[in-house]
């Protein structure tokens, strides 16, 4: 992996009480991440590696693999939500 993931400039993750879900906000749109993606995104601070993210998620959920976290992040990078430090 190229580095540690973080939200791209201008992207914000927030919890929407109206819809009872996490939402990703960016200049021209709104995305609703699924619960897995939201849990990963909450840990994308630009200083945490994928391995660390997987291990911290593993403390909350069972069966979390670093490879799965990487796949989720690649998809989010393609959608210009996440970038690498």
């Amino acid at each position: 992996m190229p580095g540690m993931p973080r939200l791209r400039r201008g992207v914000r993750l927030t919890f929407d009480k109206t819809r009872d879900t996490h939402v990703l906000l960016f200049p021209e749109g709104v995305l609703v991440p699924n619960p897995t993606a939201a849990a990963v995104l909450e840990l994308c601070d630009g200083t945490t590696t994928i391995r660390e993210i997987a291990s911290r998620l593993g403390a909350r959920f069972t069966g979390v693999r670093a490879a799965d976290v990487a796949t989720v992040l690649e998809r989010l990078a393609e959608r210009r939500v996440v970038e690498w430090t």
């Binding site: 400039r9 201008g10 929407d16 109206t18 819809r19 906000l25 200049p27 021209e28 709104v30």
Partner: protein
């Protein structure tokens, strides 16, 4: 009602119609709201509270020029504190480093900056003001503050030849996103239609330039190109569906399903000072008029594309046919397509005869 009405995602907050520019393509209504009719700070704060309660997640602070409202930092702060993504849509005039710093401090997330041309001579002529150099400074200020920047250009006959230079300018400005939008003929723009309408040759010349730049800049600067819909044969999707995702609050508190909707004079106009925002969104006649598909008639009613383009633009249908429930006459299947073809033929004849009228610059015509 044949649809489930979802909460709105976005609100265009038109804080004022006052503007330092005089662009002939202005899509705001011919009759603008006067300063004395603008909502007060307290009223806007209440609108923002109601909008977030209703589900709004994106607030576009727009106008006119929103920087002309001294209470802008307070309004940005409230929208941001409520959890909304706050976007400033500005001419850039008045956007100093100090003013931007206050807005960023209050939670501003993104700036959308308008540009009228690729060089000062052309741009200032279109804007009707000495504005271009100040916009370049404003872009620097936004970049220095670390905010994402979108550059918005309205394309028309008087700047279409600059499309390549406009892309390069946006790159130099450090834009993350460039919107190149061919003029939509609403409000003031409609009276300049002949002078604004690009020629087919201009559109054909721009296409490969935009396509190549989009490819070259992929991953660095996103380019969004909005087509000249009179030349298309399928209509643009109306707001992704009337009353589906967005609402507009005009400077005087009028609440509209789209920024141009006041042109549909057969619909009642709701106002946030007289009726709660949620009630307007869910229950008003104007917001329910064209939701779903039951209002459609042929050729829309049985068309495979009806859930894609929603029958096109309701405002354009009203302006060109007098019937807001008609198929958008841009559609090749519309019985009124001849109206659009007639307009194109008239504009082409004016060009051929070198009888294109000069721009009628935007003037602050205020409702009495």
């Amino acid at each position: 009602m044949d649809v489930t009405v979802e909460p709105p995602l976005g609100m265009l907050a038109e804080l004022t119609h006052r503007c330092p520019l005089h662009c002939p393509y202005c899509s705001n209504p011919v009759e603008l709201a006067a300063k004395r009719d603008e909502l007060t700070t307290e009223q806007w704060l209440a609108v923002l509270d109601a909008a977030r309660d209703l589900g709004v997640l994106q607030v576009h602070m727009s106008g006119g020029e929103p920087l002309l409202r001294p209470d802008l930092p307070e309004l940005v702060g409230r929208a941001s504190d409520l959890g909304c993504y706050v976007n400033l849509v500005t001419s850039g005039l008045g956007l100093t480093a100090a003013r931007l710093a206050r807005l960023v401090d209050r939670g501003l997330a993104h700036v959308q900056l308008s540009v009228q041309g690729a060089d000062a001579e052309r741009a200032d002529r279109i804007a009707g003001a000495k504005a271009h150099a100040r916009k370049i400074e404003a872009a620097e200020v936004v970049r220095a503050a670390g905010l994402p920047l979108s550059v918005n250009v309205v394309l028309h006959r008087a700047n279409h030849d600059q499309v390549g230079a406009l892309i390069e300018l946006a790159e130099r400005m450090g834009a993350d996103r460039l919107e190149l939008a061919n003029t939509q003929y609403y409000g003031w723009a409609l009276r300049n239609r002949t002078a604004l309408m690009p020629t087919p040759e201009q559109l054909a010349a721009a296409e490969p330039i935009v396509r190549a730049a989009t490819e070259r800049l992929r991953g660095r600067m996103e380019i969004v190109y909005v087509v000249a819909d009179y030349y298309e044969d399928v209509p643009k999707p109306c707001m992704y569906g009337w009353g589906a995702r967005q609402l507009t609050v005009a400077p005087n508190g009028d609440v509209l399903p789209c920024p141009a909707a006041s042109v549909i004079t057969t619909l009642p106009v709701e106002n946030v000072t007289r009726r709660p925002l949620a009630e307007i969104w869910y229950e008003s006649r104007s917001f329910n008029a064209f939701r779903g598909e039951s209002w459609m008639r042929e050729p829309c009613r049985s068309c495979d594309l009806r859930s894609v383009d929603h029958g096109g633009c309701r405002c354009q249908a009203f302006m060109l046919t007098g019937d807001a429930a008609a198929t958008d006459p841009v559609c090749a299947l519309s019985p009124d397509r001849g109206v659009v073809d007639g307009i194109l033929a008239t504009e082409a004849a004016a060009v051929a005869a070198a009888e294109v009228p000069p721009f009628v610059m935007r003037k602050p015509t205020v409702a009495r």
